[in-house]
Amino acid sequence: MIAVDGLSVAYQGVEIVREVSFTVAPGRTYGLVGESGSGKTTLGRALGRTGGDITAGRISVDGTDVLALSPRELRAWRASSLAVVHQEAGAALDPTMRVGAQLAGALRVQGRPRGDVADLLEKVRLPGEAARRYPHQLSGGQRQRVVIAAALAGRPRLLVLDEPTTGLDATVEHEILDLIWALRADIGAAVVLISHDLALVGRLCDDVGVLYAGRLVEEGPAARVLSAPRHPYTKALIDSAPRIGADSVPAAIPGQPPAPGEAPPGCAFAPRCAAADDRCRTVPPGLADGARCHHPGARAVVPVPALPHRRQEVTPLIEVRNLTRAYGRTRVLDDVSLSIGRNEIVGLVGESGSGKTTLARAVAGLGRRGGGVITLDGAELPVEVGRRDPATRRRVSMVFQDSDASLNPSHTVRTILARALGGPERVEELAALAALEPHLLDVRPHRLSGGQKQRVAIARAFAGRPDLIVCDEPVSALDVSVQAGVLRTLADQQALTGVSYLFISHDLAVVCQLADRVAVMSGGRIVEEGPAERILREPRHPYTIGLLRAAGHEPSQRRRHVH
């Protein structure tokens, strides 16, 4: 039994987590959900007494008052009772040690023999020879299995899973979650699962706590919280996630969460909530009936009905024919052909290593040489962007996944956009197009949030009035509530300008929400291609079906009726 009571955690005097209380019984799973900056990781670290300073509250695990332990007792408690699986599995493993040696180290702490390494690997369904590998020789999923194996070396009473599958491909994520699910009973520990993904938490957890600005704003059984959320934030969070086959498009939550230490006097969510009144802005609500809200059940965001998928005759704009690219002896693109029409959004889905980014970069004129041709309006495009003439270059632009790396940190947003335009005249217009607030024009990128940075990148991509914008995972690094807004902007601007998108994502739900046509890539080939609706309704390739399943969508029931 783990009991957290009135826990507050501060970093350098700023409270990140405020008065959080919850309990988890052995064998039960408690999900902590929140967006970036909600304090969920700080809270997770505090459970193992690392990270910030605990300013108030108690943590007790099976009767042990964790906060009262001396350093020596704390180490003993960590060894005997605690196991933590962090996000970024690769980073939790020492890059200079073989996997076997690291697991042996974890076993040694428990007083278990080195020979048990094979047992541990078997438990997480890894072959015994993985012990001789270094972490970098394993895939992301395999590395996460090793970290889980290390967590199983002891008999933990408390297992903290901090975003255990973030950064993994959908199918791998599925496998890892299955594994955790299967091992849960075996371990018999109280499990705390920390995630930004409400749907995932809903699937795996018995109880859920929703964190906003460091406080639990809603708590209850997972089924209840997901199906009948009481707090407007929870409801908005659920609505902002793209779901395959949903009848409304994801709605962004306006505004941003308050910065740490800058929460307003009343309800921290009030500035973003449509239902907020004066009481919300002045009196902090208490936790009653599972929600910390003066108006439980109210809506914070008005839902947007889904647009029917467009069907139109398309005239081809870009044609990719028999493209082949290789890194050394590895073929990343193997005879790929794809066409993108005018005024068309083509979604490209695939897992890491499928070749989707290589294809995108080839279209944008980046990356290496290889076989095949790309034509724009029938004229062959030179392979390298430097050999394309300025007019052609302007017709194809790109939005990168990592806006931190693609925006010059020493320029203001205004300079960035003015340079793309070739003059300062249309900067405001361009910013408005990407729904970028005007007061952000004179700040530098590091002051912007992830969503705002991506909006700058989108505005810049529109500067040259392109015919095609290649969007490489433009929303993958964003929180769902922000992601919905950026996707909305992309959709609106497309409808307005008639530009074409090549939209790349590992997330089928995101792609299907936006795209007219979807191409699915695997192992350097396009394995399936067709209208988005058709791919969702009756996928033909097993790989596509697997992707849909991993995204929590069961596509095949309706298939029988069609044929």
Partner: protein, 318 residues
């Protein structure tokens, strides 16, 4: 690893050829007549010409170069123009002296600098780190001949704890040799420690804050265990290349320390032969040093690969 070594070894002769051509070209371009330098300003034009003929200086440059190269490869390194002794003996004995001084300095430098770097990294942004980092930077900013002069004045001239010359008398025991080398070695250690320690500190600070160190701590390991089992090896990776750079410097860049302490090393020899246009000595010394440099770089790279499996085995999975 074997393939890596073979590939790297194959580049050594090519690089040496380039070095010899560069040195040769440089001596050709510098004005001055070696025969005139040897014989002095008073010598008659006839005797200068006679010496030029004897040394074969009037032949075209490629003939002289080919002659020298052929001799170098077959072990006949020629005779010094100015000193009149066989080049091979000269270079080898001077190199031995340099290796001795560099070896003594390096033996002190490596553990001290790595140790200080580790200490600073583990306690980064605390008082110990500040002292080590700032101290290292300060000593690194002072040229070795300045430190050397201060050491000489304080410990050799005033306190008389150490001799002022680094060269021990012929036939001295090892302790006496070390005693003579102490001051020059110390001035070098003071110069280089900060650089190496800074690299180790940076690696250590990253490693101490890394997810794997935190994960180990959460498994119940003490700070000391975490440092010994995980941080140590990860933070010595940058040390390998930093130490390699310093070792190169210690072997060839010691002219000022050698001159200051009157030590017959290869740096001083290189300088003198360049001033005298003593081509056979200059060429051979440059080649030997070049070879040694490449061996050190190779050694540092091998150490780097041994310490970091990611470099050694390459990334299989992305």
């Amino acid at each position: 690893m074997r393939g890596f070594l073979l590939r790297r070894a194959a580049t050594v002769p090519l690089t040496l050829l380039g070095v010899s051509l560069l040195v040769f070209a440089a001596t050709e371009l510098v004005p001055g007549d070696v025969a005139r330098i040897i014989l002095g300003r008073e010598a008659s034009q006839a005797s200068v010409q006679a010496l030029r003929d004897e040394l074969g200086l009037d032949r075209p440059w490629f003939q002289r170069y080919a002659d020298w190269l052929g001799g170098f490869l077959t072990g006949d390194w020629g005779t010094s123009y100015t000193l009149g002794v066989p080049v091979q003996d000269l270079v080898v004995s001077r190199l031995g002296q340099s290796l001795l001084l560099a070896g003594v300095a390096f033996t002190v430098l490596a553990p001290v600098a790595v140790g200080l770097g580790l200490w600073a990294g583990v306690r980064h942004d605390r008082a110990a780190d500040r002292v080590i980092s700032v101290g290292g930077l300060a000593f690194g900013a002072v040229p070795e001949f300045v430190t050397g002069v201060v050491l000489l004045v304080v410990f050799a001239v005033n306190l008389r704890w150490f001799p002022s010359g680094a060269q021990a008398p012929e036939g001295s025991g090892p302790l006496t040799v070390l005693w003579h080398l102490a001051l020059p070695a110390l001035s070098l250690v003071l110069l280089c420690t900060g650089y190496v320690a800074r690299h180790v500190r940076a690696g250590t600070a990253v490693s101490v804050e890394s997810a794997y160190a935190r994960a180990a701590e959460l498994r119940g390991l003490t700070r000391g265990q975490v440092v010994r089992r995980h941080v140590l090896r990860n933070s010595t990776v940058p040390a390998a290349s930093a130490l390699g750079v310093q070792l190169q410097f210690l072997l060839g860049g010691l002219v000022s320390v050698e001159l200051l302490f009157g030590y017959p090393g290869i740096g001083a020899l290189l300088l003198q032969s360049a001033v005298d246009k003593d081509l056979p000595v200059l060429q051979s010394a440059a080649m030997v040093l070049g070879l040694l440099y490449m061996v050190i770089v190779l050694g540092a790279d091998v150490a780097y690969r041994l310490l970091d499996p990611r470099v050694r085995l390459g990334a299989v999975a992305s």
